[in-house]
Homo-oligomer: 416 residues x 3
């Protein structure tokens, strides 16, 4: 019963290019419901790395708003995803975020499903009851170089094939499937999920806010366009970049930028980036954090392969470890960010790597980012907020995120 309301069609139609979104996109519970239905319900969503479920019977649960999805490895080592909802009276099957099971047994009345989702046993249901009609509801699952994506839609976007075809050569040599999880950490940020994503898509804020991250990251290392006022730094960085790309490509490491952040349904971007100082890893001194290198790597100074996906993930693949991030919206103004650090599965903690050293940069950076996005949320809640201009030199990827979001929502919101 405010005197001002605007429908979603008008909001989408009047979105101003290269400006941040209007307030309602960050605060309105009704738009959040649309985001969950149309963005998180109809696109490929990154849920975690394959080593989350290394053995038969290992499962993880993923919360997408009110929807809970179960990812489980079956006895044939296949990965399956199901809705985490019993077909009897709807109880959650698995209550924990991760675990190991033989079968999937509902705690309520012991309906029992196998790891392919078939209902094996349901007592007291009588002879006419057809177990084949009460399988767990499947969810589409796709493994791209060890990164697990799910899609809740009946007909998922087909262009994940294009992403997989382009990305797998980049990802293959890091051999994510052969890693183990060294550490996992969850933060709940008091902000809309889009502010979390926008913050990830620029390093304009890095120099003043991320002293630990910028130890190894070049200031102009990510998402900067030629800017007459900063030409010296940029030229110097561009020289380093060209030289390293040439070296890496010569070593058979695909390195050059691919950017489909806003021209594909399954939007993504990748590039191998040089690192500063020791140049090996995102650590406080730039040196590798794990002595046991990934895949077949014989050397550590390979910078970092970064990979960003719409709508909810980013990943840094280094020669010694991988850090992967998934963003899971909770409500219009609450978002969960899960960070996972992975090392070679044979690396030994305390011998090959020190966990504090491995995780120090991103623990600090996550906390800094949380403070920033929460200050943003409090600001955009004000009715005095109006969309502001993006920097043409440092916020192009934020614009691509917003453009992808607005384009996808516009395509999917039913016309009145």
């Amino acid at each position: 019963m405010t005197t001002k309301t605007t429908d979603i069609h008008t909001l989408l139609a009047r979105r101003k290019t290269a400006y941040s979104l209007e307030q309602a996109f960050y605060t309105d519970p009704a738009i959040f419901e649309l985001d969950m239905e149309l963005i998180f319900g109809r696109h490929w969503i990154y849920v975690g790395p394959e080593p989350s479920v290394p053995e038969p019977g290992d499962y993880v649960t993923v919360e997408l708003g009110r929807t809970s999805v179960l990812v489980v490895r079956d006895d044939d080592m296949r990965l399956n995803a199901f809705h985490n909802v019993c077909r009897h009276r709807g109880s959650r099957l698995c209550q924990q975020q991760k675990g190991m099971v033989g079968n999937l047994v509902c705690p309520y009345h012991q309906w029992t499903y196998n790891l392919q989702g078939a209902l094996m046993f349901a007592e007291h249901m009588g002879d006419k009851f057809d177990v084949s009609q009460h399988k767990l509801k499947p969810v589409h699952l796709r493994n791209v170089g060890g990164l697990l994506f799910i899609c809740l839609a009946e007909a998922p976007p087909a262009d994940i094939d294009d992403m997989a075809r382009q990305m797998e050569p980049y990802l293959a040599q890091h051999n994510l499937a052969n890693c183990k999880i060294a550490k996992q950490m969850e933060i709940v940020e008091d902000c809309n999920w889009k502010l979390t994503m926008e913050n990830n898509r620029e390093c304009y804020h890095c120099r003043a806010n991320h002293p630990e991250l910028t130890m190894s990251l070049y200031e102009y290392g990510f998402g900067y366009a030629p800017d007459p006022k900063h030409s010296d730094g940029l030229e110097q960085y561009q020289g380093i970049l060209n030289q390293r790309h040439a070296e890496w490509e010569a070593q058979g490491l695909p390195s050059r930028e691919i950017d489909h952040l806003d021209d594909c349904v399954t939007g993504f971007r990748t590039e191998r980036l040089p690192l500063d100082r020791a140049g090996e890893s995102q650590t406080m001194n730039g040196a590798a954090a794990c002595r046991k290198l990934l895949g077949e790597f014989g050397r550590a100074d390979l910078g970092g392969l970064s990979f960003w996906t719409q709508p909810n993930s980013w990943h840094h693949f280094m020669s010694d470890h991988i850090v992967t991030f998934t963003v899971l919206p909770i409500s219009a103004e609450k978002t969960m960010v899960r960070t996972t650090w992975l090392v070679h599965k044979d690396a030994v903690e305390g011998v090959d790597y020190d966990l504090d050293n491995l995780a120090a940069v991103w623990i600090a950076t996550n906390a800094q980012d949380q403070a920033l996005v929460e200050a943003s949320q409090r600001g955009v809640r004000s009715d005095a907020y109006e969309p502001g201009p993006y920097s043409p030199y440092t916020e192009m990827l934020v614009e691509k995120f917003c453009n992808w979001y607005v384009t996808r929502l516009s395509a999917l919101v039913p016309r009145p």
Copy 2:
């Protein structure tokens, strides 16, 4: 602003018999408001046993959603119920869940009402002020064998007379009015109130979840229909039941099932059920928990008289103690369950009964049920949830609860 919404008429009309309800009935705040207005606002609601207010001036308050009701015993030993709202500026009169007063004095400006609700004193209101127009608003109250029911409607369902007429012979010999409260306990469950009720209406979940309760309760002791696959257990139980019913009826104890769970506005069901092991009481060993028996009982092995009412209560009357449960919705996904244990008013704690022993079974059972209904709530919140089939052999009373609910709501929701 989700793209899918369904009006209440459609939801009610398409409800599928013998299947659980659709998601909206368990999660939608708008349907919760309807539940409070039409189910809890127009039916007889169990609020507690008469021994909650044994003496003149004793009161209890009951929260039905945002409505607070005061039940008080006046100086003539009559029980009265009022809205717990001062007629001046609306302050709560009594802030506590129970207490004792001489008059009802509003804490704000000391408007003073007697225990019949008449306004006796209001300072500074002037000569023209008519106290007779500012009585406390009465609430209908009905005492059925010591169980107190209220109704917020102006014209309450008349068929409580039928329930009272049928139930009083069953309840009389336990003489609830002559009991005292030994223990009371409140749990807030993170679920819709209907999941709490549905859980109460079947024992399909008991064997795997309630080891303490099933010490004294027969597995097939409640709500099981003949099932070819479990004919042995059922036949054996039916034999015990028939024998005990005959014995009890011969002793003048009405025992046979009466079931009006879904064919009356004031729906209810009763039956005296045999108990296992010592056969005396719902305790860990089946033996009576209190040496001082209720009423005129000379022996303890009388099983338990169970009594269920729509929409919000159940009760177990044994020879040595009574356990009574009231379910009070708080919000669409939050429900309070209050459990009360009663013994003979002359029983002495530590001498005639041990409180831990008396309460052990239902403290454990309540905690187990809470975990189950909360797992159900998390599951039905998923958009992947769809109504599932009830067991034709063990969930008939759940179906009767849902049928009663849907029938009552359908009758009361105004047509558009």
Copy 3:
């Protein structure tokens, strides 16, 4: 989806004079949004005393619902108010409730504004970027005798000039600008802001609830009209009042009541009131709490100058200290009350005043009022609540508050 809803126009039109408001005004989130937009968004709102920001660079932030406003003193000692929102991507500029800055630097990307709100620096924005189009959004600010009022509207009510002209002679001799904050305290009350205000506008509840406050306040000292049943006390008080007003006016202290609580857009009321016992201050014994008197006062027995404003403040100016209250709504059922005690800026704690003694009365009174307004909120939430009659002898100022509120909302709610 309750079966009963009423639109705001009907609710406003049927408001019954001299009765409390209908439930929806105290509980409905939609009406709360209207209150924030039309009452708090279009009127002069008291935000705090001038000594909150004594030095250049001192700032305070004020939360009006979701809107955050920054009040800052610039290097020319002028006071400016701005929306606390960066013009880039909307981050909060200042995160704390108070602090000191050189410039206003956004924590996110270091956009830098001076204390007049001009954007001085924004890196990476390119040559075409016009800083003059990205000033901080100004908020109207008015200093009335050291009390700071802001208005979020583009065109604030002009009659603050009338209030200032009438109030400044009353306030001037207390020289609030020459004070310092001795103590500040915030309470969050679980009630609608209007219940907080209504409670402030009568002392009908004082005798039974505020033993500390009524040590120094006369029972009939505030807001009582001649009442045949209490003529003795009132006549006695009126005699004291007339005598003191004559004395004070003779000393050049304006004392007589001015009341525009419901006949002006910027509603207010003032009166100098005698105090009981020592007659000097609102303390437990009525004696001055601070030996260093305010302004040029040579004596302490000057009673207290009280000042009330619509919609959200009240103030007590005594010879030795000032207590000032601002009410800031948080949500439909949550309200913040900030109390500030001020003494002469040269007064020394522990020498001239004891902080516990200074604050004792209002710390106790605030806690008592919190309990009362929260009991009211719980009561008016009941659907059984209906508006009750105000006392014609003690609640006239409550009626004026409600009348002002209903009149203002009626004037500003757009017609359908």
